[in-house]
Symmetry: D2
Subunit: 331 residues, 4 copies
């Protein structure tokens, strides 16, 4: 067991006793910070994130179910291993970035999963966007092995990942937050503590549901205004100084010609794909259903993005809902 892991073990002990955390331990972790970091899930997001860790001087040990996707990261100096268990054997800090809940369950608890060989005291940070209840299950499973699991889903896409401008929403025991933050700040501009494990996911789900509602609402509102004869730029300007203001109207306006530098100015290419938004809304829908909460608009937003996926908008930015609602609209 490495020094860092040993210290992590102590820290866990402290945490469970609800005692004061000795500042020495924290500074020790800091000193130990250049030990290898594991990274599992080397896709469009994982690759630039892991490269940012390399840039900050962290050795990276990585793996992915599709070995070919590791090529770029390997060229950048990372060591590629066969499976999550192998990574867990060699790293006491591991970041996972996976497409969905089943992948997370497999990577953590599968036959070659992290928990098969995880060292006591290891810090596991899952940046996937998944069901918060799965995060809680993973945290329990990790705890049984003496490891610490935190959820830290991101806001921001491939571009933000490359520029280390992601926002991380972090859930887990607060005493471990700084340890997580040390790594996450290499990959993001904002690292926000949200509460107990699963809270990062909860915040992300909530934010993205509201984002979808705001975007579709903005698209409808702009479309209606245009049909009523208003100039779209003027309408956006007045909304943005009024109670109709939201992020989708003032920062990411879906109407071509209103703003520069957003997907609507570029045929809805790039940005945050409709499929991904539909996936996040599916998580919101499932958590709402399972907690018996009515989310009428969130639910309808989910259905609309689902229909858009079926109508050829799957790979366009989610602001293309303006185009979807408008297409041939004048007849």
């Amino acid at each position: 067991m490495s020094m860092a892991a040993l210290l992590r073990g102590y820290r866990n002990l402290y945490k469970r006793c609800n005692k004061y955390v000795d500042i020495t331990l924290v500074s020790c972790r800091s000193m130990a910070s250049k030990t290898p970091v594991g990274f599992i899930g080397i896709g469009n997001m994982g690759t630039p994130m892991a490269k940012n860790l390399l840039k900050h001087g962290y050795p990276v040990i990585a793996t992915d179910v599709f070995p070919e996707s590791c090529k770029e990261l390997c060229d950048s100096g990372a060591q590629i291993l066969d499976c999550p268990a192998d990574v867990a054997e060699r790293a006491d800090r591991i970041i996972t970035m996976l497409p969905s809940s089943p992948n997370v369950i497999e990577v953590y608890t599968g036959p070659n999963g992290i928990l098969k060989k995880v060292k006591k005291g290891t810090l596991l940070i899952d940046s996937s966007t998944i069901d918060p209840s799965v995060s809680k299950e993973m945290a329990l499973a990790a705890e049984k092995m003496g490891a610490v699991y935190m959820d830290a889903p991101v806001s921001g896409g491939v571009g933000a990942a490359s520029l280390a401008k992601l926002t991380f929403m972090v859930g887990g025991v607060e005493v471990e937050f700084n340890a997580a933050k040390e790594l996450l700040t290499c990959m993001g501009a904002n690292v926000v503590y949200c509460g107990q494990v699963g809270s990062g996911q909860a915040v992300k789900i909530c934010n993205n549901m509201m984002l979808a509602i705001g975007m579709i609402g903005t698209a409808e509102t702009m479309n209606l205004g245009i049909r009523l004869g208003l100039d779209p730029k003027l309408l956006a300007k007045i909304l943005n100084m009024s109670s109709g203001r939201c992020w989708s109207s003032d920062t990411y306006n879906p109407v071509p010609g209103v703003m520069e530098g957003v997907p609507s100015a570029n045929s809805y290419q790039g940005g945050f794909g409709t499929t991904l938004m539909a996936k996040d809304l599916g998580l919101a829908q499932n958590t709402a259903t399972n907690t018996r909460i009515p989310i009428p608009l969130g639910s309808l937003a989910h259905q609309i993005y689902r229909i858009m996926c079926a109508c050829g908008y799957a790979n366009k930015d989610f602001s293309s809902v303006f185009q979807f609602l408008r297409e041939e609209g004048v007849q």
Copy 2:
């Protein structure tokens, strides 16, 4: 015909010829500015608005279908007449503030309506919130009589009306905007020009539809987050620095305890009533239907506020949708 009206007549001539508007005429209007102003519709909103005109030194000539509602304004120094036609006979600038489209049609084109005795060149400003197509009809009818009609619906409630903090969204011929603004600035903090006649209504309808969507979305999002174990204040804080941000989350949060000085901090009393929001959404729904525009979220927002009216929320602030969706929600 007064001097001001005479000048207005000239200005109309100029306008129709698409010619340069002589600066002299404008300054003449300015000199003539303390001639009486007509005010029709002396209700909760009309009373404080007209009192603000009096405060600025404008004589006010007013009328209302319910004479008793004029008492307060009369005590403040306004002259009360029998009907809109009588007001039109004596004032060459008239402001109307009425509940809905049929009242506007009656007050302008009814048997005792303004247009029965309106003087050529009179400036008619309608601050009611109505269907933009009715505004256009009234403008045409006024034009036939040689008068000028502008729509100038307001944003802000009784409190803003008392403090002269309303926002006016103004539609009509641009050359008349300054004339309207002179009066409207006595009653509001913002006077925004939105385009041709009906544009003020169009902007207001669009803004309020987006506002309703944002409010219900915020209520759902906060409710979901709370059920997922998040602290509401923390959730609001993170949303407000993220893409889930909107006016309802950062300025008028519907969750009790998150913000001070908003209706949710005061049992949803005061503010902007659910009935009024339902009415504005009805206008959005009608204009969208008539222009064959899909507004899926706007339409569902309308249905939700309509249901709330049926379930005892008619007189609560529209942010009470949080309570409506949550009530006994935990079971």
Copy 3:
């Protein structure tokens, strides 16, 4: 004034006095039944309807804003006149079949409209599908001229019109119902009395709103079942003997392969077009908004058909919503 019109005048007198209607008058009308019938609106529906009147021996005097559309009817023996007023001058029973409310208003109350020259006692039957409040207005206007107006919108499309298999939903004074029925039975298989004027429209709007909800619901349900591995024919069979049964599942199933002889078996061609359904739902939406009734599903159904119109489904049968929701659905 013809004998029939004279008798109609008497009957109106009787009706207003709420007295017994002399059976003689009714039999007189019957005898007089082969006097010319006016027909205004010679489109896809009007043409076969008027031809069925000709088949039953009624001389037809017709007009349309597009004279070329009258060719087929003219060839069948109808007399074509210039405008509704001219028709009203010569016929004491007139049927109108027009696309929407504004056309009806124009044809009845416009400068060359029916009411300009209508004879006292004339029976006016409007088979257009329009806002019931417009029907009531027209009835009042007709009454002022001594004529009787009934609304009698149809259910069934061009095919049913050709085969005289339409259903007529009739609103108006009950004492005139038999007079209307005499003509309508030449063109339809069912003629149903629904109540006071406007009731025919109200029933049609209600029926079609429910139809749209049932159709979209059936499409969603079948789609979900298929995705869950069910055989669509078996699913339809079980639904149809259970509480999930509706007209769209047992008579007009939207899933290709489940039934023969319906549009889904023929690439969604023919049948009842998406645009027409969207129009009828717009009427439902407007009447619900104006009477302040919540119709959450009806409203969403309206939005869905509106979006379909924008996405290339305008001219397909309304059961194509199955295809719309499913397209590329499996990904």
Copy 4:
């Protein structure tokens, strides 16, 4: 191992070889039919169902997590055991009737669950309404133990259970259907084979989603018609002979006064509770989300029943949505 179980073992062998099933085996099962039947889940539904088995001469061995709920069944002659495992030890045909997926998982795979002591060849019939994917999991787990699992959710409430008038929708290997049917016909009037395991659940979910859509749609439609001045009985009559017809309009009309013998005639008491409908819609929502199918109306129906639960309608029949949408509707 009992003779029946032995025969079941043979039959499984036959089934796996896709061979002809010897008629002898079937008749043997028939002869063996009065061996004890296990029944797990003795609630409002389970009690009358198990009593109907007793009436048909089947000895019943039962258990429930709440022992007190077994009293009535015990008095009727059933033997009560401690846990599902104990039942599995003594019966080779077991019926389960449980509230939701987690209970089913516990009863089958928990520490004292059926599969701990199930005998080879045992027929397990689950009549709970749960997620079809859980049914499939249970079937796999049962198969590993040499048992056969079928899902057979019911349609019909406590009344139908008492009168043995339930409908069973059965999923599982077809060769076992007759064995299941032998027992199910003691408790229901219809036993329908739906396909592979999980199909019973799938059909039930689909049917109930369509039922909810039809009911809310009918409530909206009737409410709109009433506001437009139509007589509700007449409106229902016309809908029921037209394309707006559905089970909720012609068999279970939600408007008080339209039909006798339905919950709307009895203050919405009895029938199928709003909470149960919300639960079934939650299953539809989850399966749709997980298979990425858009169900816009089904989803909104779910949200509406969820809101109704929050607004005091939890224990009323699901047709009370008419009252919910209408309450104080006229203002």
